[in-house]
């Protein structure tokens, strides 16, 4: 396996140029620039809000300096609140080429699109000359997420991804699982798997935070549809989601933008700290995927029963289909037929090995189905976080 070595020592499996709008008003220009390079790795990301937000700034910094990113073009309207100079400084400090295009200072839409296109063309040439270096499995960061879940998600795709996680983590990779709001009821079980009792305490607190947050929102955590599908209790539903984590020891608890300092299994706390301020923690699956990528995820494993079709900017998404009926309907969008174990056409271990092998193939350059179909979804909204506590990372005091 080979990767693109970045100055911070991390390695990327893709060499993407991100075109980042810093306000919704600049999104059209950013999107038009990428349309000139549709079949190349030139992706749009961005933040739509006009008012500054520390979390959004940190996320954009982490995303623009992700190991899969080789260069960044920032597109600003000119009067928004986003600290574009600070972001450009962070990207430049990472050793990546960066350019800021301010629409109000560049003659408007058409002139900005043309200027941006010229810059991207030049960078594509420069990136093509990058030599790849040897990269080990122990340098990979893999995320997991589930979306469009049904009664089969927790039976086939989630435990299958859990087996793949066990294999990859045993080979030295870092794995991240998330959505603490869907892990309510698993906190003691997760704490028992924590590397230290202090980390276990932190995990219990973070799930309690999620429970309170969703209670304030009035978020129903268990629907009649869940019971129709055979789920009897909230902890059973949570266990289905939790099965994505596999059986490895949990070595850390991180928040969006924190990088796993070493291999092993990490829980990502996606629920904002403090009082409920900006609404739902994550308004859709891509908001969670963006957070996993900000943590350094090179690839995300996405479990779906009903049949989500999304991919992502920056990092490839591997779609693991839990439901054999859905797979037959949407096979062109799916990478793995995990639901086959429900029809006795395979075992969990076989599905786990297949996912593990596919992760390595994708890391070596093979396109996932969502990549091949051109999916590059991205979303980022307002949040606020406190830094993680001292017990949250491995080898910390």
């Amino acid at each position: 396996m080979k990767g693109y070595l970045r100055p911070d020592g991390r390695k990327g499996i893709r060499n993407t140029i991100v075109v980042a709008y810093l306000i919704e008003c600049a999104r059209h220009v950013a999107t038009e620039i990428t349309f000139m390079f549709r079949d190349r790795d030139v992706h749009v990301i961005g933040f739509p809000g006009c008012f500054p937000n520390e979390y959004a700034f940190d996320m954009m910094s982490k995303l623009c300096t992700h190991p899969n990113v080789g260069a960044a073009l920032l597109v600003s309207l000119g009067c928004e609140g986003f600290n574009r100079e600070g972001l450009a400084e962070n990207i430049a400090a990472s050793g990546r080429p960066v350019e800021t295009l301010v629409i109000q200072q560049n003659g408007g839409t058409a002139a900005s699109i043309e200027k941006g296109g010229t810059w991207v063309s030049k960078q594509l040439e420069a990136l093509a000359a990058h030599q790849q270096v040897e990269m080990g499995i122990d340098e990979l960061v893999i995320g997991t997420i589930c979306g469009g879940s049904d009664g089969t998600s927790g039976l086939s795709a989630n435990p299958g991804m859990g087996r793949a996680f066990d294999l990859l983590i045993a080979e030295g990779a870092a794995g991240i699982f998330e959505e603490t709001g869907e892990l309510i009821g698993c906190e003691q079980y997760m704490a028992d798997r924590a590397a230290t009792p202090e980390l276990g305490e932190e995990i219990i607190h973070c799930v309690e935070k999620a429970r309170q947050y969703y209670e304030t929102l009035g978020y129903g955590s268990f629907s009649p549809g869940n019971a129709d599908g055979g789920l009897s209790t909230i902890e059973e539903k949570s266990m289905g989601a939790y099965a994505k984590s596999g059986a490895s020891e949990i070595v850390g608890l991180i928040k969006p933008g924190d990088h796993p300092p070493a291999g092993g299994l990490y829980l990502l706390d996606v629920i904002p700290d403090g009082e409920v301020r900006f609404g739902f923690p994550n308004i859709n699956d891509n908001a969670e995927i963006a957070e996993l990528i900000a943590c350094g995820a090179h690839i995300n494993l996405f479990s779906t029963g009903r049949g989500s079709v999304v991919g992502s900017a920056i990092s490839p998404v591997i779609k693991v289909c839990a439901n054999p009926e859905t797979f037959r309907r949407l096979s062109d969008d799916m990478d793995v037929d995990a639901g086959r174990i429900l029809e006795n056409r395979g075992t969990l271990d076989e599905v786990g090995s297949e996912i593990r092998d596919l992760v390595l193939a994708v890391a070596k350059g093979q396109k996932t189905r969502s990549e091949a179909l051109g999916h590059r979804e991205f979303i980022l909204t307002y949040k606020s976080f406190e830094p993680i506590g001292p017990a949250c990372l491995p080898h910390s005091a």
Binding site: A227, G230, S232, T233, I234, G240, Y242
Partner: protein, 104 residues
């Protein structure tokens, strides 16, 4: 009336005392997991749980090698395991907005 068949079921972990139906099952169908031979006692649909062995009231229901609640009455091997004979060990309510407390 359907002829009894060997039902397609999934044992998620060897420690579990329930299996999950991978297809709709009927009374009299056989389940064969590891060394257990169980006769299905009632109609169970895809995704629902069936007791793999006798479970006493109060004993935890194990799925994914984890407790997902406990039996609210004695459950016989082959019975459907669901909200009528098991309950959450967790206080967080999933039935009503009563401040997060589940009444006994």
């Amino acid at each position: 009336m359907s002829v009894p068949k060997t039902a397609n079921c999934l044992l998620l972990s060897p420690q579990d005392n329930v299996v999950v139906a991978c297809e709709d099952t009927n009374v009299g169908d056989r389940i064969e997991v590891e060394r257990d031979r169980i006769i299905v006692q009632e109609r169970v649909t895809l995704g629902h749980k069936i007791a793999r062995r006798n479970v006493r009231a109060g004993e935890n229901i194990q799925k994914y090698a984890a407790p997902i609640g406990c039996a609210s009455r004695d459950i016989a091997a082959g019975e459907h395991v669901h909200t009528h004979n098991m309950k959450s060990n967790y206080l967080y309510s999933h039935t009503s907005r009563d401040g997060g407390k589940e009444s006994e």
